[in-house]
Structure formats: C-alpha cells, structure tokens
Assembly symmetry: C2
Homo-oligomer: 187 residues x 2
DNA sequence: AGGTCTATGTTTAGACCTAAACATACAGGA
DNA sequence: TCCTGTATGTTTAGGTCTAAACATAGACCT
C-alpha cells in the first residue's frame, strides 16, 4: 500500500483543539492555538505540494533551495558556504551536506575561495543553471495557482501579518518556560 | 564550534527575492513569493523555538504530538494507529515509528484492538500522562508569549486568512506544472 | 468455498536536519 | 614569535520523515 499523509479530512479544527485543552487541562492558555495550528497546517500542505511538484521536475526541495540561492545571487553565481547557510537559514553542517550531494550530481563545483584560504566557494555549473531555470519556472507557475484563492489585498495583509508575527517569534517572546517540579502520579 | 541556523540577519526580504527572479528569469510569475516566503520563515522560526522549548522540557516535538493527540482524545486516551495518522497528518509509517519510540520509553502501550483484529490500539500510560501534562503547560505558556506581538483582532484575521489559504493549497491549486523539453545549454 | 479487493500496520531505504565534535586558518596582543 | 580566541568548514551520531514494499485481516461477490 502506498502511503500518503491524509489530507485535511482527519484534521481537527483548531477551535476544537483549544476547547479540548481547556477541558482536559483547565487553566492552560490556549489563545496561541488559533494562529499556530493553521499556520503549521498550511506550511505542511505547501511543503507536501512543493515536494510533489519538484519530484515531477526531477529535483528535491533542499537542492533547489541551494541552487536558487546561488542563481539569485547573480553573476558569477558563486557564494561561500557561510553565505549560503545565512541565506538558506540552515546550519553550516546542512549546507555542507547539500553541497556534497549537489556536487556529486554535477550541479555545483566547490573550490577554495580566492579571498580567504579558509573559505570555500560554491559555484553553479552550466548543468546547475539549466536545472534551476526549469525547476523555478515550473514551481512558481504552480505556486501561483495555490495562492489564487486569495485576492491581492488579502495576500498583502497576510504577508504583513506573517512578517509581524515573525518579528515576535524571532525575538523569542518572553523568556520563560515555567518549569514545574517533576511529579510522580497523574493529577 | 556549536552551530545554529542563523537568525533573521541573513534572511533576504521576500520583496528582494521576487525582484531578483524578475530580473534573472524575466517572465516568471512572482506574486506567490510575498505570501509563501514569510509563511515558511515563520513556520521554521516557530519550529525552532518549539524544539528548543521542548528540549528544556525533556521531550521532542514528534513524541509530544503523539502524546497530546492521545491526551486530547479524552478517556480512555486510546486511539488506533490509523486514527493517529489522520490526526497527526503524517504517514502510517511515521506513526509506527513514533509509537515504537514512545513505547520504548514507557509513554504508551500498544495492544491489539478489541474492535478489530487488524487494528492496533495505542494507549497513554500514567507516565505518558504526566509527561504530556508538564510539556503542554510549558509549551502553551511559552507560545502564548510568541504571539503576543499581535493584537487579538490581528490574530483572528491571520488565522482566518491562513485557513482560507489552506483550502486553496489542499485543493492542489490548478493541476498544472508546465514542463519544458529538456535543454542542454544555459540561455 | 474461493477469489479479489481494500484497509491496517510494519519495515526498510533514502533524504534531510540539528547538535556537537573536529580541524584549520587567521587575527591581535604580549 | 607564540598564544589565544574567533571564524569557517566538515564529519558524525541521532532523530525524523516520506515512499514503497510487505504482510495480514476482513469484506464482498460468485
């Protein structure tokens, strides 16, 4: 049997989740659920769609993120691994692995940077250019249809609210995680 | 050196990304970027925060998702693996692995369902109850502070727009991924 | 009864990520 | 010059997920 994560059918509405916690664990603050739950579901649905779309286009999301970051950088389509880690928002270790995979497939080359001997320059190959061009065109065309549900004004508002939420999250919110003394039995 | 994904500092603004594609690959539709890029960044920032918070609370996100889904189900805190897969939105294979790990740690038990011989019932243990109680309290308290940046009205609007976007995404958008014939050289 | 289709779980291979340990390369001061 | 601290990359261990192959168990039809 081929598996697939069940679509929305089985997803419990966020409001029900909040109500369930309020019932099962009275006193917990549940107001974040109405935002965070739908956000994660959309993010997952988008990630699933993107994975499927890119699969048809012959590439995986992590590799495309790498290649498109190089492509967007403009001539000479070269960045150090440090710059890549910053722009892709993943650890240097993850970049190291992504680059190793892409290099194996002939999509990028790795060479000591001219500027510093400890830096490594990653450059898009001709084959990498071709792959990223095809994939980005196909992907953006598809994702355009995914957001078509929202009117331009709604998209703008959504984008702005997400940016604002992001500031709060990256700020780390209040620095608290109220810890309780470990207990033994169920209340 | 301890690694960490760089915070927002290195993140290129979504508008710049769209402008870069418009310049580098003229003609591609870029209007989805203003929504999808901030959405993914917030989702990642939230996932990172949650991972760190739960680490302090002694549990990982996947296991808490499993335990809290059982806890929210109410008495007798038991679901089949199928129901778990539907509610957690991951494949049955992933649930199988999550349950195996949680069982190893004594947080749940696995037993043949009374209703059907092919189904498997997963039940929260007393230890599982205690762990989920502590973790959910700590997590929701923390996440409450993460969304504090948004006024109640903004949260409501954001939640609604996300739900609406979700419908479009799960619908799969238009069924198109315009494929081009593979080419050889860079344009 | 027998055959076929579907539902439910488990296992495995392959990707991917983070966190932490290493390994260098510099830079700046004593 | 030597030492120490910091910046840059790579490697490895452990965890997580999907996709696909298996293995049963029921259901339904003839």
């Amino acid at each position: 049997m081929t598996e697939y994560p069940l679509d929305g059918t089985g997803a419990v509405p966020a409001a029900e989740i909040a109500a369930a916690w309020d019932r099962e664990l009275p006193g917990v603050p549940t107001s974040s659920i109405g935002v965070i739950t739908p956000l994660w579901r959309v993010a997952k649905a988008l990630a699933d769609e993107r994975r499927r779309t890119l699969r048809r286009l012959g590439i995986d999301p992590a590799t495309l993120d790498l290649l498109s970051t190089l492509r967007r950088a403009g001539e000479p389509w070269t960045l150090t691994t440090r710059e890549l880690a910053e722009r892709c928002l993943v650890t240097a270790g993850a970049i190291s692995q992504r680059v190793a995979r892409a290099e194996r497939e002939g999509l990028v080359t790795r060479s000591p940077s001219t500027a510093s001997r400890r830096a490594v320059s990653v450059m898009l190959t001709d084959r990498g250019h071709e792959v990223v061009r095809r994939a980005v065109r196909g992907l953006l065309a598809h994702e355009e249809t995914l957001v078509a549900n929202l009117a331009p004004g709604e998209r703008r508002v959504l984008g702005e609210l997400l940016e604002k939420l992001g500031e709060g999250v990256r700020g780390g919110g209040g620095r608290d995680v109220p810890l309780e003394p470990p207990a033994r039995s169920r209340p």
